[in-house]
Structure formats: structure tokens, C-alpha cells
Symmetry: C2
Subunit: 704 residues, 2 copies
């Protein structure tokens, strides 16, 4: 029926059918074995997802496996990476653990990959050790004032800078090798002992746990930027990859980091550099204290990482739309993990499979078919840089751009069980609120996910008063990146997460370690799977609304509010100095005002329209205005050095300012250099953003 709107009864039925036992069994099955991208275990999960999506009782209309040939990086299983302390006569005084200590049989699985820094080059590096805090440029700069860093090995802690940036920043100062560890202060609220404080006694990270990770700056397959990585696709040479560590780099556990750091000589590091160890963090002499048994010794990295071009699979599934099959709502999550990946990403995959089970059954039973088509993506090789989703968007760029209404990403569905967290295009705020008001908070009958959320994270909106804070999708932290930044598609990323008053952990402690297992997840993250259920219900509710609403549930006035916020910040921070440079911010102010006016006008049209009697083409006209508005924010030339970042509002910024990223970064650069070329770049970005906003307003205006 062309004029059928979303069916609230169907949503109720959906909510009632999302089942904690199903979620638990999904997770159990998905985490049976380690399933790092392209491994045997990964292929098992491919088959499992396929089986579920092809199930005659509860499957989708169609499901298939789709491969890309992508560039990955692995340690050599026959020649593990080694980190040692060697004395001047080349005797090994100390060896860093090669594997995490087993507490359950999971960790003993031979398929558990040795901790490593993906895309770190192979090679040996020997030198005196220094402690470089988080490996930010400012950290090395400070160190370099008292220590000649050339030829040293730097040990850095996770946080503050991207993984690969720690090594790139280091190399600029002549550092020859980098170690990275997770400080107990940053991940364990200080707890360090595995006899009673850490897993298996709590959710905290055992002393030998190591966060693996990819150390590349850009997302997508590194050899095929802007081209889908097929068999014969042109590939750049691996030597021409930029944004990866130029020097050997290896992550280690804090048990070993403790030994190294607490023996360091040299000046005491600043207070902000001190971590959770019960010793003073010194800079390093460089090297160790004279009183240490490591005195005069070097730290040696022997890295044997190998680059490999391998087939990685996405699993795709679709439910064909009844009325508008050529409009897509996409829901996705990656499938690959570093080890067993119970939380990352299988908690999200468990939710996705439960949503497809409930919806698939309705479809198979003939009870429901969405108005628009729904596409599910189980992405491969996300851990190596969002590769599966990026290649997918590269391959189907125009089709996805022209037809996709929205993208929902649920990677880690449950970091912790305190509250919802959501990041999204501001236009999607209202549908997130609507859906989460209908879902009970985990373990409560009387409180909604929304009511619970507003207690943990809120803001005061000029239009709506106090509301939960929906965050922005500025980064490239999961598979939404290509949809937001490359395609300009309205997107949501959501999960259940921490009570920040109870922990400072930068992420759940077992993240990317061998302890992220079913046992860990079901005991310490979400016992009873009630948070999984709440996320599944919330995300599924939004999914149904995007797919079934006659008029897309997008509110562009909420987008205007965010642009106004950005504008106010920009005016406060920059206007005086720009005026002095003869650069006017008036056009930007006008553009934001025009956007607001257009959004209000369109909203009036929507509010006053008699939906049931509108012609299908009139509804489609408005929906296209709403769907395509965000595309006007794309500029493929604005950030030439950043792969995939084309959205001039949400692009990532190094400025740390909550405002237009291109202007903010260019301003910071111009202020620091003072060069007229750099001030011109500020003006350029001002014009780019101004015209993008005008273009977006045009999409909302009367069509002719």
C-alpha cells in the first residue's frame, strides 16, 4: 500500500520478540573460535551469518558473500615478534611475553594471534629506552629538550594520539622503535593484580593483556584508495603507503611495561605523564638507572610482520522493499575480530542477527515487508581499517549515494550496561528519541532507554530543552566512516556504555585482547544480555522507522541547531582575527540562517501536509529533499590529504574545537605559522563551508 505509514503494532511486536537467550546463543556461536579477518575462524563466521540469513524460516530475501582482495598485516606465526633487554655484551636480560597469560582455555587456542601492531614494518631496532607518555608531538618535543632522541626506543601508553601516530611522531625525532602499552591508570582505574583485581575476577585487564590494533591512519584498503579492491584493480606499491609507522612498533602488556618503565633513569616525567605504576615515571637517561640490573642495556625490537594481500569477505543480505525498493536503509557491523572478539564486534553481530531473525521471520510469514529495501552488511577486515565497508562504498558509490536513506552501525553493542550512547547526524536525533522512548532500559520495566540516557548524558537544546546528548560522527572509529564522510549518508552509531562516574577506563578493559571472550562478556559486561536486548530493540525500532515511515523521520531543524552551535563557536573563536585579515564571516552567517529558514519552511510543509492524501510523488519529493540534503555537504577536494573525508561539517579535525573542521584546522595552522598562504587557506575553507551549507539549504528549499 503506497500510503501506508509505519505500523506501531508491528514495532511493538518486534520489540517483544527481541530475545536475550537468542542474543546469548548468537554470541556463544560467534565467539567459539578466534576470527581475525581472513582466518579460518573468520570464514566460519561467514558461513554462520550466511546460514542464518538464508534460513527458510527466519532468513532474508537474499544473502551472499562478497570478497575483496585487501592488504593486511600479520605477525609471522613461525617467527614471533620479540622485545628484549640486551646488555652491551648482547646477552638477553629480559624478554617481553609473546602471549597473554591464559585463564580460560580460550587464551590457549593456537589461533590466538600474537599481539602486534598491524602495518608496523618488519625490522630490528635497538636503542636506549625513553618514556614518551602518549607519543604526541608535544610529548616528543618536551623529551627532546633534555634528551637527544636519535637512536632511542620510545615506550608510550595508549591514548592521546592515534596508534600509528605515536610511531610517526617518534620517527620525526629520530626515534628508531616504539613500544605501546596500556597503563593501568587508563584502563583499569589503577588495578593491577590478577590474583584478585583483574579478569577473571572482574572486568579489568590482566597484567599480560595487550591491545592489538591497526596502526594505519587512513581507512579502507591501503593499496586501492577510491577503487574497489578486486582481482585486477590497480594497486599502489606497499612502499608508497603513507600514514603507517615508519619504524618497528610493538604493543606489550603492562606487566612488562612496568619492568621497563620503573627501571628508567633520567629526570622525573611531568605529573600528567605519571601513570598507575607504583614507581616514578622517569624520562629515561636515555636508558635504565645505574642501580638497575638493566644498567647500560638496550631495548631491542625484532619485528617480523608480513604484509599480505588476501580475500576478505563481506556478507550481504537484503529484504526487498515493497513500495520503494530503490530506497535503501543499510544496517551494518563488522564481523572480524582480533581474537575471539566477544564484545568487539560480536556483541554487535549478535544484535544484528537477532534483528534479522525477528524481521526475517515476519517477512517469511508474510506479515510484513518494509516500504523501502533494507540491506544488511556484515563487514570484513574492519579491524585493519574499516576495509570491508570502505571497499563496499567504493564499489557501489553512485548507487548507494543516490538511493540510501540512512545507515545504522552497531559495532560493539555493549561496552557496559549503564546507558545508551548514540552518535548521529543531527537530523536523526528525533527518530532516535522516539525509538528509545519505546524501549525499556535493561533490567527495568518503568524506565525507558531514553529516560535512563538523559540522566547520564544530556544537554539543553534551545528548541527542545533538556534532552539526551546525541554525539557527532566526526571520527572514523567504525564502519559508519565511509557512509558519513565519503558518501554523506545520514548515519547512526550506537551502543550501551559506561557510567563515567564509576570508571575512567578509556574503553572496556579487554578491548582487542585475548580476554574479550564469551565468558568475559556474559559475566562482566552484560549478564543476562539485557543491554544487548535494549540496543537491539532501539536499533531495530529505528531501522523499521527508517524503512517504513511514509515521510522520512528526519528533522532538519535539529541539523540547523548544530550548525548554529558550530557557527557561534567559530564566530567566538575566529571572527575578530579574521576581520583583521579582511576575511568576512558574514557569508557563513547568512548561509546558516538560510539553512535554518529552509529547514523551518520544509518543516511547515511537512506539518501541514495531509499525508494520507498526498500523492506518492509529492511524498517522494519531500523525502528526496530530506535524504539528499546531506550530500550537499560533500566536497571531494576540500581535504585532499585525508582519504574519504569529504563531509565538510563532520570531517575529523585536529583542532579540538567543536566547529567546522576545515576552518578550525586551517585557522590553527595559520595562527601558528602566520603565513599569508595559510590565512588564504582559512578563507578557502570558509568559502567551502559557506557554499556547502547554502547548497544544503537549496536542497531543502522549494524545489523550483
Amino acid at each position: 500500500d503506497v500510503s501506508k505509514d509505519v505500523d506501531e503494532n508491528l514495532i511493538k511486536q518486534f520489540l517483544s520478540e527481541v530475545d536475550t537467550v537468542q542474543l546469548q546463543e548468537n554470541l556463544r556461536e560467534l565467539t567459539k573460535v578466534p576470527h581475525m579477518a581472513t582466518s579460518q575462524g573468520d570464514e566460519q563466521t561467514v558461513q554462520f551469518v550466511l546460514k542464518r540469513w538464508q534460513d527458510p524460516e527466519s532468513g532474508l530475501d537474499k544473502a551472499w558473500q562478497q570478497e575483496y582482495k585487501v592488504y593486511l598485516s600479520f605477525p609471522n606465526p613461525n617467527n614471533p615478534n620479540k622485545v628484549t633487554v640486551v646488555n652491551p655484551s648482547n646477552s638477553v636480560l629480559f624478554t617481553v611475553r609473546e602471549r597473554e597469560k591464559p585463564y580460560t582455555p580460550d587464551q590457549e587456542d593456537p589461533e590466538v594471534v600474537q599481539p602486534f601492531a598491524a602495518y608496523s614494518p618488519p625490522g630490528n631496532a635497538v636503542g636506549k629506552l625513553v618514556y614518551a607518555n602518549q607519543g604526541k608531538p608535544s610529548d616528543y618535543h618536551l623529551l627532546n629538550q633534555t634528551i637527544d632522541l636519535r637512536g632511542t626506543i620510545a615506550i608510550t601508553r595508549y591514548g592521546g594520539a592515534g596508534r600509528g601516530a605515536k610511531a610517526i611522531n617518534a620517527a620525526a625525532f629520530g626515534v628508531v622503535g616504539v613500544l605501546v602499552y596500556t597503563d593501568p591508570l587508563d584502563i583499569n582505574d589503577g588495578f593491577m593484580s590478577d590474583t584478585n583485581e583483574t579478569y577473571p575476577h572482574s572486568w579489568y585487564l590482566p597484567p599480560t593483556g595487550v591491545e592489538r590494533g591497526s596502526y594505519n591512519k587512513d581507512f579502507g584498503d591501503l593499496l586501492t584508495p577510491y577503487l574497489a579492491a578486486k582481482e585486477d584493480t590497480y594497486r599502489i606499491s606497499p612502499e608508497d603507503i603513507t600514514g603507517i609507522p615508519p619504524i618497528p612498533t610493538q604493543p606489550i602488556g603492562f606487566e612488562d611495561a612496568y619492568r621497563l618503565i620503573c627501571e628508567l633513569d633520567g629526570k622525573k616525567a611531568p605529573d600528567e605523564w605519571q601513570g598507575g605504576f607504583n614507581c616514578t615515571y622517569n624520562f629515561g637517561g636515555p636508558g635504565f638507572k645505574p642501580t638497575s640490573s638493566f644498567n647500560n642495556s638496550d631495548v631491542k625490537l625484532e619485528i617480523f610482520n608480513q604484509g599480505k594481500i588476501l580475500n576478505s569477505s563481506n556478507v550481504m543480505g537484503v529484504i526487498r522493499g515493497s513500495v520503494e525498493p530503490d530506497r535503501y536503509v543499510i544496517y551494518g557491523n563488522h564481523r572480524d575480530s582480533w581474537v575471539h572478539g566477544a564484545i568487539d564486534p560480536s556483541s554487535g553481530t549478535a544484535v544484528m542477527l537477532e534483528i534479522t531473525r525477528v524481521l526475517g521471520r515476519m517477512v517469511k510469514q508474510g506479515k510484513w515487508r518494509p516500504r523501502r529495501s533494507i540491506i544488511f552488511g556484515s563487514w570484513g577486515a574492519e579491524e585493519f581499517g574499516l576495509i570491508g565497508s570502505a571497499e563496499y562504498t567504493e564499489e557501489y558509490f553512485t548507487k548507494l549515494s543516490e538511493r540510501t536513506v540512512g545507515y545504522i552501525n552497531v559495532d560493539i553493542s555493549v561496552f557496559a550496561n549503564a546507558t545508551l550512547s548514540a552518535s548521529a547526524m543531527p537530523s536523526m536525533q528525533s527518530v532516535i528519541f522516539k525509538a528509545t522512548k519505546q524501549v525499556s532500559a535493561p533490567g527495568s520495566d518503568s524506565t525507558s532507554v531514553y529516560d535512563n540516557w538523559i540522566r547520564y548524558s544530556n544537554r539543553t537544546s534551545p528548541a527542545h530543552g533538556v534532552i539526551p546528548r546525541v554525539r557527532y560522527l566526526n571520527g572514523a572509529g567504525s564502519d559508519y566512516a565511509a557512509f558519513v564522510h565519503y558518501l554523506g549518508i545520514a548515519s547512526i552509531d550506537m551502543s550501551y556504555t559506561y557510567d563515567r562516574s564509576k570508571t575512567n577506563a578509556r574503553i572496556y578493559p579487554a578491548y582487542h585482547t585475548a580476554y574479550d571472550t564469551f565468558d568475559y562478556a556474559s559475566k562482566f559486561i552484560d549478564p543476562g544480555f539485557v543491554s544487548h536486548q535494549a540496543v537491539g530493540r532501539s536499533a531495530g525500532n529505528i531501522l523499521i522507522r527508517l524503512a517504513d515511515s511514509l515521510l522520512l523521520p528526519f528533522n532538519c531543524n535539529d541539523y540547523a541547531e548544530s550548525l548554529e552551535d558550530y557557527l557561534n563557536t567559530a564566530v567566538t573563536l575566529y571572527e575578530a582575527q579574521l576581520k583583521a585579515k579582511n576575511i568576512s564571516m558574514e557569508p557563513l552567517k547568512n548561509a546558516v540562517a538560510n539553512f535554518r529558514r529552509a529547514a523551518e519552511q520544509l518543516d511547515k510543509v511537512i506539518q501541514s501536509s495531509d499525508l494520507a492524501n498526498e500523492t506518492p510523488l509529492n511524498i517522494r519529493k519531500i523525502n528526496d529533499q530530506l535524504m539528499l540534503m546531506d550530500r550537499a555537504f560533500l566536497n571531494p577536494l576540500a581535504f585532499p590529504d585525508e582519504y574519504g573525508f569529504r563531509h565538510v561539517i563532520w570531517a575529523s579535525s585536529s583542532s579540538g574545537k567543536a566547529t567546522f573542521p576545515g576552518i578550525a584546522d586551517a585557522f590553527a595552522q595559520a595562527e601558528s605559522s602566520g603565513s599569508s598562504t595559510d590565512w588564504n587557506k582559512v578563507h578557502y575553507h570558509l568559502s567551502v563551508v559557506t557554499q556547502a551549507i547554502e547548497g544544503a539549504a537549496d536542497m531543502l528549499n522549494e524545489v523550483i
Copy 2:
């Protein structure tokens, strides 16, 4: 009525109302005074077009003037450019004419701009003269084998290379100034005398006629690439403009060129360099013959061109669509000329105004309203590099990209009155044929424009047999450029043109001179305005079909035929050598085959659909497939050095091969350099084109 298709009776009525007297009077009014971009005369044409489009009896729904601040280049009216021959004691022996000789009062109008090379820098250049043929790199290369070109002035003839390229190529060899003239062989079929052979006795160019022109390589406002040129838009510095002459450059008439060339000393130039003068074209000593009165003398250029940022206007008009207002058919032509511009562009504007008069009246009388919206654009500053249309597409990029069904460009509507000529996306071939079969050839009742056309220019199509040859839109010769190359919108450029068996003129002889007047046009180009009428009827018929057809009249099988042609050429030219480099063309072959399959499949769906009973959204779905297919050919990164060229099938190429331009140019470069970087670039372009074609096929495939 949602299911109403194009009305053949309405088309008949339209055809019957297109009137030669109206066309003649339009042209008379448009050419009253010179109307170079931003001049007083230009503003008069703005007001004239506005008045017509706002006419209560025959105007459009809405019309308005829209300004951009753009960078133009003019001679200094108080200090005209000078070209002289000066002897060693600095006496002036000869001065090139500053104005064309008047035959009618038109040429005496003080607003006739002195001939000049727009965007040539001001400055003086003195040196010995050499004859450099067409100013191609190969021409200078040959010359340079016997003459040290450093410090010389080169005289070149129009043709063979772009205007600005003649000077850019010259500067690379140390040439310090360039003259450009039109050789009688290239424009006048050899005729040279104004006493009986040339205008006012015929259509041929008088000896003092000079082709003005813009000497920039890139189109669009040169200071604001990819940004609309508004008041506060960021502008690059004029010194940073690339692709314009680096040395003083000036066009002159052949009367003066004759004096200079026939006195040249040195070796006889090759046969292909000889032109229409009754003397031997020598290279130059450099400089003149010892027997010449110019012996030992230099040629001196004193150029006083000035860059100016001025407001240039587009005039825009719309007829709002009844059923699909959010789908646009755009029809445009530039309004600005160099002088009176009777043929270029007013013959096209006369046609546009006649089409809007007939359609506007139907709308005002309530007899008709198109299904889709029609937008008319009277572009400004085309002569300076397609500026008005380019700025328009920059400003409304997303809106136009998402909503525009097709663009029709009629610039010079009548070059000559022999036959139709049309260039278009291959998908539009069928609607061009359908329309032109319904229009009588000028001066004939029994022959159609189509039947006449096929006699002058045809080809054998595997699918259709012998048909008129529709050309490709590879270049950037008029305002279709931004629509085709930057936006990927299906476009048509059309005109009436020569019988090539009767003339070799590279273009109509009065092109860009002071002789392109109403008198010239009405006496020698289209007496009776019957060719204007045929073009108006043909273009208007196509316009109505694009606006009113229930299903868009696009045939993607015809697009497939062109891709197959390109593929066959590419395989013939490149496959063996690519194989030797381990680069496979199989993916490209598969892509073209997939496109063909998808086109056939969609065609079947269209043929088998019962239009009257299809739902509006099903029709829209197919129309969107047809409309948006071409967008998949866009790649904003494929040609980083070419402003606006994003369409990987139709981008311009310097290879001279009728095949995929990126591959062809990269192959030529790789073959000549042999470097592996260059061979990689061939592979890159092969992947770009392959994936673009796959993406286009995806747009035609089943939507889910």
C-alpha cells in the same frame, strides 16, 4: 495527470508556431549593439531577455537575473594594444591595424572592442619574427632544430592547437611574444580580396577581420575553481592562474599577417605549413629577408590588457513542472558576444527566445504545463571561458546533480544552412532522431531534418543500420561543458551547419569578428531564417519530450554501443602492449559486457511495462535509473589537473584516439616515456574506467 505521456498534438502545435519572422526580429534586437560580457550592451540584452521571460502573455512562470563576480580580461580602451615592425634605430616601419575595416555602420560603433587575446598578460615583447605554423609543440620543436627560438616573436595561425596553447607552447622554447592570425586557407577557402570575394560580397572574412577569443585553458572563473564566484568567495591570486599565456600575445588580421609572413627569411617551411598567401611561407631567419624593407627589423608587441573582476549576469527562467517539479530539464545558451555576435551566440539566443515565447504562451493560456520543470539559462561571460554556466553549476552542484534529467545547449544555432549537427550522450540519440524526423528541413516540405542530416553525416550502427552520426561531447566548446563533464548530466549540443564538400572553413568566417552582424547573418548564413526555425523546432521538440515523457526517452543500449566502440578501439590499440606489462583488459571487457546486459534488461522492463497502469513510483524508479546512470561515470579525482573534467568517458583527450580518454592519454605518455610510473598510471586509468562502467551498469540493474 500523473500518468499523462507526451502529447503529440501539442508537439505539432509547437512546431507550427515556431516563426521565422519572430526569429529574425529576435536576432535584430539582440544584435543592435555590441554586447561583450559585462558591457553596457550586455546589460541591455539582460533586460531584453528578462522582459521577454516576464511577459504576461508569453513569459515564463518566473525569471530573474543572477550575478557572479568574475575575472575578465580586456584591452585598455585608452591605450590600445600595438603591434609594429621597428628597425634597429627604433623607427616604426609598419603598424598592424587596431580596428577592423568598416563596411557597415556596425563596425564603426565605438563599443566594438579592439581585437585582443583575453588573458594574455600585458607587457612589451620585441624580437625577430618566426613563422610557427599552428603553434603546436611539434611545430616549435621542428623550428627549434634550425633556429634558436629564444627571444623571438612567433606568428602562428589559428587551428591545430588551442588559442592559449600556442603561447604556452612557445614560451617553453624561449619565444617572447606570439601573434595569431587566421589564414585565408583555413577560413576563406583561399579567398582574400574584399573587393569582390569577401564580406560584404560573400560570407568570407575580410582581410582585416580578426578572431578574438579567450586564451585560457580551463573553463569557469579562473580565480574561483569549484566555488561560485560570489562577493566574498575566496579567490586565488591572478598571478597563480595556470593555463594562460605566459607571454604577450595578440591576434591580427590576415591582411597584416600577409605583410609579415611573406617577408620572412630563412628556410622554406614544410608543405603542411603553407597557407593561402601567394608567397612562400619561410621559417624566418629569424626575421625578415635581406631584400625586404623590414630587413634587420624586429616585431614589437605592446600589450596593455587589464584583468578586472566584474559582475556578470545569467538570466534564469523557469516553468514549474506539474507532476514532477523536482525534475529539471535545462535549456541554455550564452548571451554575451565579442562584438555584435549575430551568429555567436545570438542565433542561439534568438532560437531560445522563440521557444520560450511559444511555450510560455501555452502556459499562460493554460493549455499546457510540463510534467517536469524546465529551467532556461541565458549564460553570461561564456566567451571568457564558459563562466556563467560553470559558476551556476558550482553554486547549485548537488541540486542540479540530483534533479536534472538533461541539458540542451544551442549556442550558435546556425553555422550554415546545409545540415543538422548534434553532439550528445549516446543515450539521447533516439530522442534526437525522433524529434528531427518530425521537423521539415529548411526550405523543404518533403524532407525532414533527419532525412537531410543522414545524407551529410552518417554511420552504420550494429543495432540500427545507417543512421545520422551523433557526435560525442568530448570537448568544452560551449556551455554544455559543466553539465557534461562536471555534473555528468545527459546533454545535447546542436546546430545547423556546413556542407563540408563546399567549404573547408574551420568555422563560419566572421566568427568572433566585427563582421558577425545581423546583416551578415541574414544575408549569408540563414536568409529567411529557415535554418533557425529548423533548429528551434528540433531543439524545442526534444525539450518537450524530455519534460513531458512519462518514461524518459533515454536508450542505454545506444550508450552500450558507444562503450563497445571505445572498448574495441582500446583493445586494438593497447591490449598486446598491456599484456606484456601484465595489465589485463579483461575486467574492462567484463564491465562493458555487464553494462550491455544491464541496458538490455532495463530495456526489456521498459518495453514490457504497461505504462498507463504502472504506479507513479515504479515509473520514477525507472526514470531515476535512466537519469542517474551517467553520474556513475564521474570521478572527481581521475583528472586532477583538468578543471571540471570528471566524466571518465567523455573527458577531453590529447591522444586523438576515439576511446577512453584517461587510458588513451596515459598510454601515450607511458609509451613515450617507458617509465614504470607511467605504465602504472595506465593501469590506474584502466581500473577507474572499469569501475565507473560497472557502477553505471549497477545503476541500470535491478535496484535490489
